[in-house]
């Protein structure tokens, strides 16, 4: 019975999501989805959100108190403890018992959370601490876990949050466009938007929510995040709609699949409402477009001259597919996704991508302060695929990309003796066609999306025996273990060290039939030079663009050198921001919205 009713609800929500959403409609549809997201927490009895939702919906308050107090008996989870606790408290403080309020306050006195070592950790830590310090004002250091007074904590938290907003809106986010770590930023800014007492911080919180959603919207296709990513876990790299970001796509854009994950609960309870323009940017795919972004590398503490080197993103978005890339090299530790094609057809495996599976203490030492040699085993203790030669995530210093619209060239020049002396391509099992054409092209059909992959060197096909399981650790992260057997996906592996491939993507609406695609592409054969230290390729695309690419950084398009360094913070038909500007302009048809963080103001 329960299953039937849930199914009916889901169908109803999907029909709302699928319908036109403009003006008041989109807000109405949003409210419906938000209620769906929180509905299971009205009756569940585990986790902070079961208390938060009861408080917010003003029912079963004694149950909420009981749940909350029980959880606070053994605080744990560092910044992952801070945000649900302060979020739950703020939703319920006027409705909970005095005893519960006292228990919460005491927890912030006695439990010392670790601040963490990533950008998302700090966003959560300082956003939570900021709200807590504003809430409990005037307390001396002895009333706080860190020995600092309320004023000191509020000041420090505000300073860091302003610093983060400033650096994000001038040279880009460091932990950028992460399908799995997107929620941490959304939650942090939601706390500010909902609960900050300082009007400026409240406004900045709302502006950053606009900013984060705009960042996602422009590289979004029906619930999927498109392009290259700073961090992604293996389950989501195969199955894009399983990422945490997709839950936000469902809530805000009405796309993808319904999700009631806890990551999205505080957003669903929030008073923040996404501006209509972002809904259109996220969902209007009536015309293909190129969208470019500049991001930054996470803080480099060793082996680099620059603390935050630039990351250049290039994404081509169409109604049927998106293909996107980072320029290659080590831009983030462990979980980088350098390039990929994602499309609508064939859930859940809606992607094709490739990589050089690389790991080293050098890579880790760039970003982590611990001793170099034991670092790999330390990382593997929590991210077990890191040193697996069959892994499907991570960047490589020996990989570079060059993308023009829906064509990408990826080159590799791998020194002998590198930990892995092969490159891999991922081809999902549910492709309608995967043809090994005598011309040298691998020709794939995924519904109305066609993908041609021309390997520059010979390789072998290996059927995947395992793919990552869905086990989660205690903070809800995939464990990246290889337990679940899901046979049938295909790995194209090449053991040549000087290597690469050209990938062309087209859709039925772009080129017509699959047969026409295959017929045309057969005559487009890349010319490659593949010697150590001299890896290059020349290729003329199906659209007759001339691309030449010499590893690592010589890119020429139609005879002209491509200068990635001129890439703006955002540059596309919907979003525009100059590097260093602290100003993002969103446009859609007659609509315009400007986020000016220098003031701060929102101009419409």
């Amino acid at each position: 019975m329960r299953h039937v009713s849930i199914l009916m609800l889901v169908c109803a929500f999907w029909s709302i999501a699928a319908g036109a959403q403009t003006g008041k409609d989109y807000l109405q549809a949003y409210e419906t989805r938000a209620r769906y997201v929180t509905s299971i927490y009205d009756t569940s009895r585990t986790g902070y959100y079961s208390a938060a939702v009861r408080y917010a919906h003003n029912h079963d308050l004694a149950v909420a108190d009981s749940i909350f107090r029980d959880l606070l008996k053994e605080p744990r989870g560092d910044m992952f403890w801070m945000f649900p606790v302060i979020g739950t408290y703020m939703h319920g403080k006027d409705r909970m018992s005095a005893e519960t309020r006292a228990v919460v306050r005491n927890a912030w006195k006695t439990y010392a959370p670790y601040r963490g070592d990533t950008e998302n950790h700090w966003a959560m830590y300082y956003a939570s601490l900021y709200i807590a310090a504003e809430e409990w004002t005037g307390l001396p250091g002895g009333e706080w876990y860190n020995g600092k007074s309320s004023d000191e904590n509020r000041t420090e938290a505000k300073e860091y949050l302003l610093h983060w907003m400033n650096i994000t809106t001038t040279i880009g986010q460091g932990e950028f466009d992460s399908p799995d770590y997107y929620p941490e930023y959304m939650i942090s800014m939601t706390l500010l938007a909902d609960f900050a007492r300082d009007p400026e911080m409240k406004l900045r919180g709302r502006m950053m929510l606009d900013y984060l959603l705009a960042d996602f919207a422009a590289e979004h296709l029906d619930g999927q995040y498109l392009g290259g990513f700073s961090r992604i876990y293996q389950p989501a790299v195969f199955k894009p709609l399983q990422s945490n970001a997709s839950a936000f796509a469902y809530l805000y854009f009405g796309t993808g699949e319904p999700s009631q994950t806890g990551w999205v609960v505080l957003s669903a309870l929030s008073s923040y409402r996404m501006p209509e323009i972002l809904l259109h940017i996220a969902t209007d795919r009536s015309a293909p477009y190129v969208h470019k972004e500049r991001k930054r590398v996470r803080n480099v503490i060793r082996f680099g001259k620059e603390k935050n080197p630039p990351v250049y993103k290039y994404t081509y978005v169409t109604p049927d597919y998106g293909i996107g890339s980072l320029q290659g090299g080590i831009l983030q530790p462990i979980q980088q996704h350098t390039w990929g094609v994602r499309y609508l057809y064939g859930r859940p495996y809606t992607t094709i991508f490739g990589l050089h599976p690389y790991w080293s203490s050098y890579e880790l030492g760039m970003f982590f302060p611990e001793e170099l040699k034991p670092l790999i085993s330390d990382v593997v203790s929590s991210k077990s695929t890191y040193n697996n030669p069959d892994k499907w995530t991570g960047g490589s210093p020996f990989e570079r990309t060059f993308q023009h619209r829906n064509t990408i060239i990826v080159l590799y020049d791998i020194p002998p003796g590198t930990m892995t002396e092969h490159i891999d391509g991922f081809f999902p099992r549910n492709l309608e066609k995967r043809i090994l054409d005598p011309s040298g092209w691998i020709l794939c059909k995924a519904g109305d999306t066609y993908v041609g992959w021309f390997p520059l060197q010979e390789g072998e096909w290996v059927e995947e025996n395992v793919s990552p399981g869905q086990e989660k650790n205690s903070i809800g992260r995939p464990t990246d273990t290889d337990r679940t057997t899901e046979t049938g996906n295909w790995r194209f592996r090449s053991h040549k060290l000087q290597n690469g491939y050209v990938v062309e993507v087209r859709s039925r609406r772009e080129i017509g039939s699959f047969e026409k695609f295959t017929s045309e592409i057969r005559s487009h054969i890349p010319k490659a030079t593949l010697r150590p230290g001299a890896v290059s390729v020349a290729y003329t695309t199906l659209d007759k663009a001339s691309m030449t690419f010499a590893f690592p950084e010589k890119r020429r398009l139609n005879g002209s050198a491509v200068d990635l360094s001129t890439t703006k913070l955002f540059d596309g038909p919907f979003l525009h921001a100059e590097t260093g500007s602290q100003k993002l302009t969103m446009t859609y048809k007659g609509m315009k919205r400007v986020l000016d963080f220098t003031k701060p103001t929102i101009i419409e």
Binding site: M79, P140, G147, S474
Partner: protein, 341 residues
């Protein structure tokens, strides 16, 4: 600067594989106190329900029992006790910043803010209770006002990743620091730094002879160990009997400084009895071979502690000839510190 009056920051939870009880710092034995700085235990995941980490002290008379003290789960790298404070002023270098207590560990305060993170080493000025220098992943910072404020002190450093900074024993205006680019010396209280005459990079640690301050020993990543006998001008690679290349720690016998212990990546413990001229390995009973920190008990120079990477704490009572595990489970002990009471 406001000082906290809160009681010891404690929370319930399982702790390593050792027996735990809390003994107030004031009631400890008057013998030396041995501290282990545990940076992590197995399967450390930020945000997870990790076993307790941070500072542990060994119970006198029950040498396999350790108690946790101070803030928990802060990614603690090292501990220092400020000389001249009768053990009351202590510092924890950690991911959360620099923690300080002025009451022997009853209350703690984070003295740094968001600008300072990944504090790897803390060196209090032995002549001035207000002056402390820290080495971080982002360079050197110094406070001269009892940790109320901090100033970045990286002038002259080619790279800022600094895992170690030490204060000269005889002249506290002179400091030495280890960087990825090489070993540096400052003669003006860290205001400016000059690269010493050591040609290799990847310096992990520096240690100074307890009696002759012109003698320093440097451990490196991949380049072995080097000794200078003229304050850093000339360095000689110490390689007789050395089969390894990466060294994280050295400990001098305070009474006979010709005896030196060394440890590093899969090295076990090396011992020299001729001031670093030659070395031999002394690993009998040492079941963990990556040693991150060594310390000689100032009250009994035959007693040596070795902090193991994922191996817990080891102790030798015969000057390194044999070792036994004395607890802290299979944790990653970053530093062992002995406070002479």
């Amino acid at each position: 600067m406001e000082q906290s009056t809160m009681k010891r920051l404690f929370s319930a939870g399982a702790v390593l594989a050792v027996t735990l009880s809390w003994t107030p710092a004031m009631t400890r034995s008057q013998e030396s106190t041995v501290y282990g700085t545990v940076v992590a235990t197995r399967l450390f995941i930020v945000g997870a329900a990790n076993p307790r980490t941070g500072i542990f002290y060994q119970h006198p008379g029950d040498d396999t029992t350790w108690s946790h003290t101070g803030p928990n789960n802060i990614r603690a790298f090292s501990l220092a006790v400020h000389a001249g404070s009768n053990g009351k002023v202590q510092y924890i270098a950690s991911g959360n910043g620099l923690h300080k207590t002025i009451d022997g560990g009853v209350t703690w305060r984070i003295t740094t803010d968001w600008r300072v993170t990944e504090v790897l080493w803390v060196s209090p000025d032995p002549t001035d209770l207000n002056t402390v220098t820290i080495a971080t992943a982002y360079g050197i910072y110094r406070s001269t006002d009892g940790c109320a404020s901090w100033t970045e002190m990286n002038r002259g450093l080619a790279t800022v990743f600094t895992p170690c900074v030490i204060v000269d024993r005889r002249n506290s205006r002179t400091l030495y620091c280890a960087t990825e680019d090489g070993a540096y010396r400052s003669d003006d209280g860290a205001a400016t730094w000059t690269r010493m005459g050591l040609s290799v990079g990847g310096i992990r640690v520096l240690a100074q002879h307890p009696k002759d301050p012109s003698i320093l020993i440097a451990g490196t990543e991949d380049h072995g160990m080097y000794i200078t006998r003229n304050g850093g001008q000339w360095w000689t690679k110490s390689e007789s009997g050395v089969d390894h290349t990466t060294f994280y720690t050295f400990a001098f016998n305070p009474r006979n400084p010709d005896i030196i212990y060394a440890g590093g990546y899969v090295t076990g413990v090396y011992k020299s009895t001729d001031g670093g001229g030659s070395w031999k390995r002394v690993n009998n009973g040492l079941t963990c071979r990556t040693i991150h920190s060594l310390a000689v008990d100032p009250g009994d120079d035959n007693r040596v502690y070795a902090a193991g990477h994922w191996g817990g704490m080891f102790r030798s009572d015969d000057a390194g000839e044999s070792w036994r595990n004395v607890g802290l489970g299979d944790s990653q002990v970053w530093t062992v510190t002995i406070e002479s009471n």
